[in-house]
Amino acid sequence: MSDSTFEPVIIGFTCNWCSYRAADLAGTARIKYPPNVRLIRVMCSGRIDPTFVLKALSEGADGVLIAGCHPGECHYLEQNYKALRRHRLLQKTLAQFGIEPARVRLTWASAAEGALFAEEIAAMVNEVKALGPLNWPARPLPVATAPAEIPKLSEVAA
Protein backbone atom coordinates (compact mmCIF):
# COMPACT_ATOMS: atom_id res chain seq x y z
CA MET A 1 0.00 0.00 0.00
CA SER A 2 2.25 2.69 -1.25
CA ASP A 3 1.03 6.23 -0.96
CA SER A 4 2.75 8.95 -2.97
CA THR A 5 2.45 11.44 -0.11
CA PHE A 6 3.83 9.04 2.49
CA GLU A 7 7.11 10.23 3.99
CA PRO A 8 8.56 7.51 6.20
CA VAL A 9 10.10 8.28 9.55
CA ILE A 10 13.40 6.46 9.84
CA ILE A 11 15.52 6.40 12.97
CA GLY A 12 19.20 6.09 12.12
CA PHE A 13 21.73 4.92 14.67
CA THR A 14 25.24 5.93 13.65
CA CYS A 15 28.50 5.25 15.38
CA ASN A 16 30.71 8.04 16.60
CA TRP A 17 33.80 6.96 14.70
CA CYS A 18 32.78 6.12 11.14
CA SER A 19 29.17 6.33 10.10
CA TYR A 20 28.31 9.54 11.97
CA ARG A 21 31.35 11.12 10.36
CA ALA A 22 30.19 9.83 7.01
CA ALA A 23 26.90 11.63 7.60
CA ASP A 24 28.85 14.70 8.66
CA LEU A 25 30.94 14.52 5.52
CA ALA A 26 27.81 14.19 3.40
CA GLY A 27 26.64 17.42 5.03
CA THR A 28 29.82 19.42 4.59
CA ALA A 29 30.14 18.16 1.02
CA ARG A 30 26.53 19.28 0.41
CA ILE A 31 25.46 15.89 -0.83
CA LYS A 32 21.69 15.68 -0.98
CA TYR A 33 19.78 12.86 0.66
CA PRO A 34 16.14 12.58 1.72
CA PRO A 35 15.33 14.24 5.06
CA ASN A 36 13.45 11.22 6.41
CA VAL A 37 16.21 9.97 8.66
CA ARG A 38 16.60 11.19 12.24
CA LEU A 39 20.14 10.35 13.22
CA ILE A 40 21.09 9.33 16.73
CA ARG A 41 24.80 9.11 17.44
CA VAL A 42 26.03 6.32 19.68
CA MET A 43 29.61 5.43 20.47
CA CYS A 44 29.56 2.18 18.53
CA SER A 45 27.16 0.06 16.49
CA GLY A 46 27.85 -2.63 19.10
CA ARG A 47 25.96 -0.42 21.54
CA ILE A 48 22.71 -0.92 19.61
CA ASP A 49 20.49 -3.21 21.62
CA PRO A 50 17.54 -4.68 19.67
CA THR A 51 15.47 -2.91 22.34
CA PHE A 52 16.30 0.42 20.66
CA VAL A 53 15.06 -0.86 17.32
CA LEU A 54 11.86 -2.34 18.76
CA LYS A 55 11.15 0.81 20.76
CA ALA A 56 11.51 2.93 17.64
CA LEU A 57 9.27 0.66 15.57
CA SER A 58 6.63 0.37 18.28
CA GLU A 59 6.49 4.12 18.83
CA GLY A 60 6.00 5.37 15.31
CA ALA A 61 9.13 4.78 13.21
CA ASP A 62 8.59 3.16 9.81
CA GLY A 63 12.15 1.89 9.66
CA VAL A 64 15.44 1.79 11.51
CA LEU A 65 18.90 2.21 10.02
CA ILE A 66 21.94 0.93 11.88
CA ALA A 67 25.27 2.14 10.55
CA GLY A 68 28.71 1.19 11.78
CA CYS A 69 32.33 1.00 10.74
CA HIS A 70 33.30 -1.54 8.09
CA PRO A 71 34.06 -5.03 9.41
CA GLY A 72 37.61 -5.09 10.68
CA GLU A 73 37.68 -1.32 11.17
CA CYS A 74 35.72 -0.97 14.39
CA HIS A 75 37.16 1.57 16.78
CA TYR A 76 36.48 -0.97 19.54
CA LEU A 77 38.06 -3.82 17.57
CA GLU A 78 35.10 -6.07 16.81
CA GLN A 79 31.93 -4.66 18.30
CA ASN A 80 30.47 -4.06 14.85
CA TYR A 81 30.43 -7.84 14.42
CA LYS A 82 28.11 -7.91 17.42
CA ALA A 83 25.90 -5.45 15.58
CA LEU A 84 25.94 -7.77 12.57
CA ARG A 85 24.98 -10.81 14.63
CA ARG A 86 22.24 -8.96 16.48
CA HIS A 87 20.88 -7.64 13.22
CA ARG A 88 20.65 -11.11 11.70
CA LEU A 89 19.00 -12.50 14.82
CA LEU A 90 16.59 -9.59 15.06
CA GLN A 91 15.58 -10.00 11.41
CA LYS A 92 14.68 -13.65 11.99
CA THR A 93 12.60 -12.65 14.99
CA LEU A 94 10.91 -9.67 13.32
CA ALA A 95 9.70 -11.90 10.50
CA GLN A 96 7.49 -13.69 13.03
CA PHE A 97 5.98 -10.36 14.02
CA GLY A 98 5.16 -9.57 10.39
CA ILE A 99 7.79 -6.84 10.00
CA GLU A 100 9.49 -6.76 6.60
CA PRO A 101 13.31 -7.08 6.56
CA ALA A 102 13.76 -3.84 4.58
CA ARG A 103 12.52 -1.85 7.56
CA VAL A 104 15.61 -2.64 9.60
CA ARG A 105 18.74 -2.05 7.59
CA LEU A 106 22.34 -2.53 8.59
CA THR A 107 25.04 -0.74 6.64
CA TRP A 108 28.71 0.09 6.95
CA ALA A 109 30.19 3.49 6.12
CA SER A 110 33.68 4.78 6.78
CA ALA A 111 34.34 8.40 7.68
CA ALA A 112 35.30 9.01 4.05
CA GLU A 113 32.11 7.57 2.57
CA GLY A 114 29.71 10.48 2.78
CA ALA A 115 28.40 9.85 -0.73
CA LEU A 116 27.85 6.15 -0.07
CA PHE A 117 26.03 6.91 3.19
CA ALA A 118 23.72 9.33 1.35
CA GLU A 119 23.02 6.66 -1.26
CA GLU A 120 22.20 4.10 1.42
CA ILE A 121 19.72 6.47 3.02
CA ALA A 122 18.11 7.26 -0.32
CA ALA A 123 17.81 3.55 -1.11
CA MET A 124 16.31 2.76 2.27
CA VAL A 125 13.81 5.62 2.08
CA ASN A 126 12.67 4.32 -1.30
CA GLU A 127 12.27 0.78 -0.04
CA VAL A 128 10.33 1.81 3.05
CA LYS A 129 8.17 4.15 0.96
CA ALA A 130 7.27 1.19 -1.22
CA LEU A 131 6.31 -0.84 1.86
CA GLY A 132 4.07 1.91 3.22
CA PRO A 133 3.59 3.10 6.79
CA LEU A 134 4.21 0.67 9.63
CA ASN A 135 1.76 2.32 12.04
CA TRP A 136 2.47 -0.08 14.87
CA PRO A 137 -0.47 0.08 17.27
CA ALA A 138 0.44 1.91 20.44
CA ARG A 139 1.30 -0.24 23.42
CA PRO A 140 -1.21 0.20 26.20
CA LEU A 141 0.70 1.82 28.99
CA PRO A 142 0.38 0.28 32.40
CA VAL A 143 -2.80 1.77 33.77
CA ALA A 144 -2.25 4.65 36.22
CA THR A 145 1.25 4.06 37.42
CA ALA A 146 1.68 7.30 39.35
CA PRO A 147 3.23 6.25 42.64
CA ALA A 148 0.45 6.79 45.11
CA GLU A 149 1.32 7.21 48.74
CA ILE A 150 1.65 3.92 50.52
CA PRO A 151 -1.51 3.21 52.47
CA LYS A 152 -1.05 2.97 56.19
CA LEU A 153 -1.66 -0.40 57.77
CA SER A 154 -4.53 0.86 59.78
CA GLU A 155 -6.26 2.14 56.64
CA VAL A 156 -5.64 -1.02 54.67
CA ALA A 157 -6.55 -3.51 57.34
CA ALA A 158 -9.49 -1.57 58.73
Binding site: L54, R88, K92, Q96, I150, L153, V156, A157
Partner: protein, 329 residues
Protein backbone atom coordinates in the same frame (compact mmCIF):
# COMPACT_ATOMS: atom_id res chain seq x y z
CA UNK B 1 -12.90 -7.57 64.44
CA UNK B 2 -13.71 -9.75 61.47
CA UNK B 3 -10.87 -11.15 59.41
CA UNK B 4 -9.82 -9.25 56.27
CA UNK B 5 -10.95 -10.79 53.01
CA UNK B 6 -8.70 -12.64 50.59
CA UNK B 7 -9.45 -13.60 46.99
CA UNK B 8 -7.65 -15.45 44.24
CA UNK B 9 -8.84 -15.58 40.66
CA UNK B 10 -7.68 -17.29 37.48
CA UNK B 11 -8.18 -15.71 34.10
CA UNK B 12 -6.36 -17.18 31.05
CA UNK B 13 -4.08 -19.52 32.96
CA UNK B 14 -3.40 -23.17 33.61
CA UNK B 15 -4.09 -23.45 37.33
CA UNK B 16 -0.44 -23.92 38.22
CA UNK B 17 -0.44 -20.71 40.26
CA UNK B 18 -3.18 -22.09 42.53
CA UNK B 19 -1.18 -25.29 42.96
CA UNK B 20 1.90 -23.22 43.83
CA UNK B 21 -0.14 -21.50 46.54
CA UNK B 22 -1.31 -24.84 47.91
CA UNK B 23 2.32 -26.03 47.80
CA UNK B 24 3.11 -23.82 50.76
CA UNK B 25 1.79 -26.84 52.69
CA UNK B 26 0.65 -26.24 56.25
CA UNK B 27 1.24 -22.51 55.84
CA UNK B 28 -2.03 -22.40 53.99
CA UNK B 29 -3.58 -22.76 57.44
CA UNK B 30 -2.03 -19.39 58.35
CA UNK B 31 -3.82 -17.97 55.35
CA UNK B 32 -7.09 -19.37 56.66
CA UNK B 33 -6.38 -18.26 60.23
CA UNK B 34 -5.74 -14.66 59.24
CA UNK B 35 -8.04 -14.17 56.25
CA UNK B 36 -11.57 -14.84 55.28
CA UNK B 37 -11.35 -16.44 51.84
CA UNK B 38 -14.07 -14.51 50.04
CA UNK B 39 -13.61 -15.72 46.49
CA UNK B 40 -11.37 -18.44 45.07
CA UNK B 41 -13.01 -20.40 42.26
CA UNK B 42 -10.29 -23.06 42.18
CA UNK B 43 -10.68 -23.84 45.86
CA UNK B 44 -14.30 -23.16 46.73
CA UNK B 45 -17.66 -22.53 45.18
CA UNK B 46 -18.55 -18.91 44.52
CA UNK B 47 -20.60 -17.00 42.03
CA UNK B 48 -19.64 -13.83 40.21
CA UNK B 49 -22.83 -12.22 41.47
CA UNK B 50 -21.59 -12.68 45.04
CA UNK B 51 -18.49 -10.68 44.17
CA UNK B 52 -20.59 -8.09 42.40
CA UNK B 53 -22.68 -7.73 45.56
CA UNK B 54 -19.63 -7.01 47.73
CA UNK B 55 -18.87 -3.45 48.69
CA UNK B 56 -16.10 -1.73 46.72
CA UNK B 57 -12.64 -2.28 48.22
CA UNK B 58 -14.07 -4.78 50.68
CA UNK B 59 -11.47 -7.44 49.71
CA UNK B 60 -8.12 -6.62 51.28
CA UNK B 61 -5.99 -8.53 48.79
CA UNK B 62 -6.67 -10.32 45.53
CA UNK B 63 -4.09 -12.52 43.84
CA UNK B 64 -4.97 -12.36 40.16
CA UNK B 65 -3.33 -14.96 37.97
CA UNK B 66 -3.86 -15.46 34.26
CA UNK B 67 -3.80 -13.06 31.35
CA UNK B 68 -6.69 -11.27 29.67
CA UNK B 69 -7.83 -13.42 26.75
CA UNK B 70 -11.63 -13.13 26.77
CA UNK B 71 -14.27 -10.54 27.60
CA UNK B 72 -14.96 -12.53 30.77
CA UNK B 73 -11.32 -12.20 31.88
CA UNK B 74 -11.50 -8.44 31.32
CA UNK B 75 -14.78 -8.12 33.21
CA UNK B 76 -13.37 -10.01 36.20
CA UNK B 77 -10.16 -7.98 36.16
CA UNK B 78 -12.17 -4.76 36.33
CA UNK B 79 -14.58 -6.17 38.89
CA UNK B 80 -11.85 -7.44 41.20
CA UNK B 81 -9.95 -4.20 40.83
CA UNK B 82 -12.99 -2.35 42.09
CA UNK B 83 -13.63 -4.75 44.94
CA UNK B 84 -10.00 -5.04 46.13
CA UNK B 85 -7.79 -2.68 48.08
CA UNK B 86 -4.67 -4.49 46.90
CA UNK B 87 -4.59 -6.17 43.50
CA UNK B 88 -1.59 -8.39 42.88
CA UNK B 89 -0.61 -9.55 39.39
CA UNK B 90 0.29 -13.06 40.42
CA UNK B 91 2.41 -15.27 38.17
CA UNK B 92 3.79 -14.87 34.70
CA UNK B 93 0.45 -14.81 32.82
CA UNK B 94 -0.86 -11.80 34.72
CA UNK B 95 2.49 -10.03 34.49
CA UNK B 96 3.83 -10.83 31.02
CA UNK B 97 1.30 -13.03 29.23
CA UNK B 98 3.30 -16.22 29.68
CA UNK B 99 2.69 -19.23 27.40
CA UNK B 100 -0.87 -18.16 26.49
CA UNK B 101 0.69 -14.90 25.27
CA UNK B 102 2.49 -16.77 22.50
CA UNK B 103 -0.88 -16.93 20.77
CA UNK B 104 -0.24 -13.25 20.01
CA UNK B 105 1.98 -14.43 17.16
CA UNK B 106 -1.14 -15.64 15.34
CA UNK B 107 -4.27 -13.79 14.26
CA UNK B 108 -7.47 -15.05 15.86
CA UNK B 109 -8.63 -16.98 12.78
CA UNK B 110 -5.40 -19.00 12.79
CA UNK B 111 -5.88 -19.80 16.47
CA UNK B 112 -9.37 -21.16 15.77
CA UNK B 113 -8.12 -23.08 12.78
CA UNK B 114 -5.41 -24.68 14.84
CA UNK B 115 -7.77 -25.53 17.69
CA UNK B 116 -10.78 -26.74 15.70
CA UNK B 117 -9.53 -27.84 12.27
CA UNK B 118 -6.08 -29.31 12.84
CA UNK B 119 -5.45 -32.83 11.45
CA UNK B 120 -5.62 -34.30 14.94
CA UNK B 121 -8.98 -32.70 15.71
CA UNK B 122 -12.23 -34.60 15.17
CA UNK B 123 -14.68 -31.91 14.07
CA UNK B 124 -16.60 -33.22 11.02
CA UNK B 125 -19.24 -30.47 11.18
CA UNK B 126 -16.61 -27.74 11.43
CA UNK B 127 -18.14 -26.37 14.59
CA UNK B 128 -16.70 -23.20 16.05
CA UNK B 129 -17.52 -21.60 19.37
CA UNK B 130 -20.09 -18.82 19.02
CA UNK B 131 -20.61 -15.81 21.25
CA UNK B 132 -24.31 -16.63 21.31
CA UNK B 133 -26.26 -19.74 20.38
CA UNK B 134 -30.05 -20.25 20.24
CA UNK B 135 -31.41 -23.39 21.88
CA UNK B 136 -35.04 -24.23 22.71
CA UNK B 137 -34.47 -23.17 26.31
CA UNK B 138 -33.14 -19.75 25.33
CA UNK B 139 -29.81 -18.17 24.37
CA UNK B 140 -26.51 -19.68 25.44
CA UNK B 141 -23.54 -17.35 25.51
CA UNK B 142 -19.77 -17.70 25.62
CA UNK B 143 -17.32 -14.89 26.31
CA UNK B 144 -15.68 -13.93 22.99
CA UNK B 145 -11.95 -14.30 22.48
CA UNK B 146 -10.22 -10.92 22.20
CA UNK B 147 -7.86 -10.12 19.32
CA UNK B 148 -4.70 -10.33 21.41
CA UNK B 149 -3.80 -11.35 24.91
CA UNK B 150 -3.16 -8.51 27.33
CA UNK B 151 -1.52 -8.51 30.70
CA UNK B 152 -3.35 -7.44 33.84
CA UNK B 153 -1.55 -4.09 34.05
CA UNK B 154 -2.59 -3.30 30.47
CA UNK B 155 -6.22 -3.51 31.60
CA UNK B 156 -6.38 -2.25 35.18
CA UNK B 157 -4.11 -0.65 37.76
CA UNK B 158 -1.95 -3.20 39.56
CA UNK B 159 -0.49 -2.70 43.03
CA UNK B 160 2.13 -5.44 43.19
CA UNK B 161 3.77 -7.92 40.86
CA UNK B 162 4.70 -11.49 41.73
CA UNK B 163 6.54 -13.08 38.78
CA UNK B 164 7.17 -16.72 37.99
CA UNK B 165 5.55 -19.61 36.19
CA UNK B 166 4.46 -20.43 38.75
CA UNK B 167 5.87 -18.28 41.56
CA UNK B 168 8.11 -20.40 43.75
CA UNK B 169 6.29 -21.66 46.83
CA UNK B 170 8.96 -20.47 49.25
CA UNK B 171 8.52 -16.98 47.81
CA UNK B 172 4.75 -17.21 48.18
CA UNK B 173 5.14 -18.29 51.78
CA UNK B 174 7.41 -15.30 52.45
CA UNK B 175 4.89 -12.92 50.86
CA UNK B 176 2.12 -14.42 52.95
CA UNK B 177 4.19 -13.91 56.10
CA UNK B 178 4.64 -10.22 55.28
CA UNK B 179 0.95 -9.88 54.52
CA UNK B 180 0.00 -11.39 57.85
CA UNK B 181 2.42 -9.06 59.63
CA UNK B 182 0.81 -6.16 57.82
CA UNK B 183 -2.63 -7.24 58.94
CA UNK B 184 -1.38 -7.53 62.53
CA UNK B 185 0.18 -4.08 62.32
CA UNK B 186 3.73 -5.39 62.64
CA UNK B 187 4.95 -4.32 59.20
CA UNK B 188 4.26 -1.77 56.50
CA UNK B 189 3.34 -2.61 52.95
CA UNK B 190 6.13 -2.42 50.37
CA UNK B 191 6.02 0.56 47.98
CA UNK B 192 3.26 0.38 45.41
CA UNK B 193 4.35 -1.18 42.13
CA UNK B 194 6.99 -3.34 43.80
CA UNK B 195 7.97 -6.73 42.45
CA UNK B 196 7.50 -9.17 45.32
CA UNK B 197 8.83 -12.66 45.76
CA UNK B 198 11.75 -12.28 43.37
CA UNK B 199 15.34 -11.15 43.29
CA UNK B 200 16.91 -7.98 41.91
CA UNK B 201 19.35 -9.60 39.57
CA UNK B 202 19.46 -12.25 36.86
CA UNK B 203 19.18 -16.03 36.95
CA UNK B 204 22.84 -16.20 35.82
CA UNK B 205 23.79 -14.39 39.01
CA UNK B 206 22.23 -17.16 41.09
CA UNK B 207 23.47 -19.99 38.89
CA UNK B 208 26.33 -22.03 40.28
CA UNK B 209 27.54 -23.24 36.90
CA UNK B 210 30.95 -22.07 35.74
CA UNK B 211 31.18 -19.52 32.96
CA UNK B 212 34.45 -19.84 31.21
CA UNK B 213 34.92 -19.30 27.48
CA UNK B 214 31.75 -17.21 27.04
CA UNK B 215 31.36 -18.07 23.37
CA UNK B 216 29.05 -20.47 21.55
CA UNK B 217 29.76 -22.05 18.19
CA UNK B 218 26.62 -24.16 17.97
CA UNK B 219 23.14 -24.03 19.43
CA UNK B 220 21.26 -27.27 19.91
CA UNK B 221 18.10 -28.49 21.50
CA UNK B 222 18.60 -30.48 24.65
CA UNK B 223 17.60 -33.79 23.07
CA UNK B 224 20.24 -33.32 20.36
CA UNK B 225 23.13 -33.18 22.80
CA UNK B 226 24.80 -36.48 23.69
CA UNK B 227 25.65 -35.45 27.22
CA UNK B 228 25.71 -32.37 29.39
CA UNK B 229 28.34 -31.84 31.99
CA UNK B 230 27.10 -30.82 35.40
CA UNK B 231 29.44 -27.93 36.12
CA UNK B 232 29.67 -25.65 33.07
CA UNK B 233 27.37 -22.92 31.82
CA UNK B 234 24.57 -24.43 29.72
CA UNK B 235 24.82 -21.64 27.17
CA UNK B 236 28.47 -22.48 26.62
CA UNK B 237 27.45 -26.11 26.17
CA UNK B 238 25.22 -25.02 23.31
CA UNK B 239 21.79 -24.70 24.91
CA UNK B 240 19.75 -21.53 24.52
CA UNK B 241 19.43 -20.36 28.12
CA UNK B 242 17.36 -17.32 29.11
CA UNK B 243 19.33 -16.77 32.31
CA UNK B 244 21.14 -13.59 31.17
CA UNK B 245 17.87 -11.66 30.69
CA UNK B 246 15.64 -13.24 33.31
CA UNK B 247 14.91 -12.00 36.82
CA UNK B 248 16.34 -13.99 39.68
CA UNK B 249 14.26 -15.40 42.50
CA UNK B 250 13.96 -19.09 41.67
CA UNK B 251 17.45 -20.02 42.97
CA UNK B 252 18.32 -20.97 39.40
CA UNK B 253 16.22 -24.09 39.71
CA UNK B 254 16.26 -25.29 36.11
CA UNK B 255 19.95 -24.74 35.28
CA UNK B 256 20.86 -26.45 38.58
CA UNK B 257 19.31 -29.68 37.32
CA UNK B 258 20.62 -29.40 33.76
CA UNK B 259 17.68 -27.74 32.02
CA UNK B 260 18.21 -24.30 30.54
CA UNK B 261 16.35 -21.32 31.98
CA UNK B 262 13.31 -20.60 29.82
CA UNK B 263 12.67 -17.16 31.27
CA UNK B 264 9.59 -17.62 33.45
CA UNK B 265 10.49 -14.94 36.00
CA UNK B 266 10.24 -12.33 33.27
CA UNK B 267 12.51 -9.44 32.42
CA UNK B 268 15.41 -8.76 34.75
CA UNK B 269 15.25 -5.45 36.67
CA UNK B 270 15.80 -2.47 34.40
CA UNK B 271 15.10 -4.46 31.25
CA UNK B 272 12.35 -3.05 29.07
CA UNK B 273 12.01 -6.02 26.75
CA UNK B 274 13.16 -9.44 27.88
CA UNK B 275 13.37 -10.94 24.39
CA UNK B 276 15.42 -8.06 22.98
CA UNK B 277 17.83 -8.24 25.87
CA UNK B 278 18.19 -11.98 25.41
CA UNK B 279 18.86 -11.50 21.69
CA UNK B 280 21.59 -9.02 22.63
CA UNK B 281 23.15 -11.47 25.03
CA UNK B 282 23.01 -14.48 22.70
CA UNK B 283 24.23 -12.64 19.61
CA UNK B 284 27.15 -11.22 21.59
CA UNK B 285 28.59 -14.62 22.36
CA UNK B 286 28.07 -16.29 18.98
CA UNK B 287 31.52 -17.30 17.82
CA UNK B 288 31.24 -16.27 14.17
CA UNK B 289 31.85 -13.09 12.21
CA UNK B 290 30.81 -13.94 8.66
CA UNK B 291 27.10 -13.73 7.79
CA UNK B 292 26.89 -17.38 6.64
CA UNK B 293 28.74 -18.67 9.70
CA UNK B 294 26.56 -16.53 11.97
CA UNK B 295 23.43 -17.92 10.36
CA UNK B 296 24.69 -21.48 10.82
CA UNK B 297 24.80 -20.90 14.57
CA UNK B 298 21.55 -18.94 14.69
CA UNK B 299 19.72 -21.60 12.70
CA UNK B 300 19.95 -23.64 15.89
CA UNK B 301 17.06 -21.47 17.09
CA UNK B 302 14.11 -22.69 15.00
CA UNK B 303 11.55 -20.39 16.64
CA UNK B 304 13.31 -17.18 17.73
CA UNK B 305 10.21 -15.20 18.79
CA UNK B 306 8.90 -18.19 20.73
CA UNK B 307 12.27 -18.79 22.36
CA UNK B 308 13.17 -15.23 23.28
CA UNK B 309 9.66 -14.19 24.27
CA UNK B 310 8.40 -17.49 25.63
CA UNK B 311 6.93 -15.81 28.71
CA UNK B 312 6.95 -12.09 27.94
CA UNK B 313 5.47 -11.64 24.47
CA UNK B 314 2.24 -9.92 25.54
CA UNK B 315 4.24 -7.43 27.61
CA UNK B 316 7.00 -6.86 25.05
CA UNK B 317 7.48 -3.68 23.05
CA UNK B 318 5.78 -5.12 19.97
CA UNK B 319 3.22 -7.21 21.95
CA UNK B 320 1.96 -9.27 19.03
CA UNK B 321 2.13 -10.09 15.37
CA UNK B 322 1.12 -7.20 13.15
CA UNK B 323 -1.89 -9.00 11.70
CA UNK B 324 -3.18 -9.99 15.13
CA UNK B 325 -2.78 -6.44 16.46
CA UNK B 326 -4.66 -5.03 13.47
CA UNK B 327 -7.80 -6.79 14.75
CA UNK B 328 -7.61 -5.04 18.10
CA UNK B 329 -10.41 -2.47 18.44
Amino acid sequence: MSKPKFAMYWAASCGGCEIAVLNIDEKVLDLDANFDVAFWPAAMDAKYKDVEAMEDESILVTLFNGSIRTDENEHLAKLLRRKSKILVAFGSCANEGCIPGLANLSPREQIFERAYESPSTENPNHLRPQAACQVPEGTLTLPPLQAVIRTLDQVVEVDYHVPGCPPESHQIAAILDVLIQVVKGEAELPPKGAVLGAGNSTVCDECARKRDVKVIDKLSRIQELPQLNTTDCLLEQGLLCAGPATRSGCNSRCPNVGAPCIGCYGAAPGVLDQGARLMTAIASVVDANEPEAIDRVLNGIPDPAGSFYRFSLAHSLLRANREALAEEP
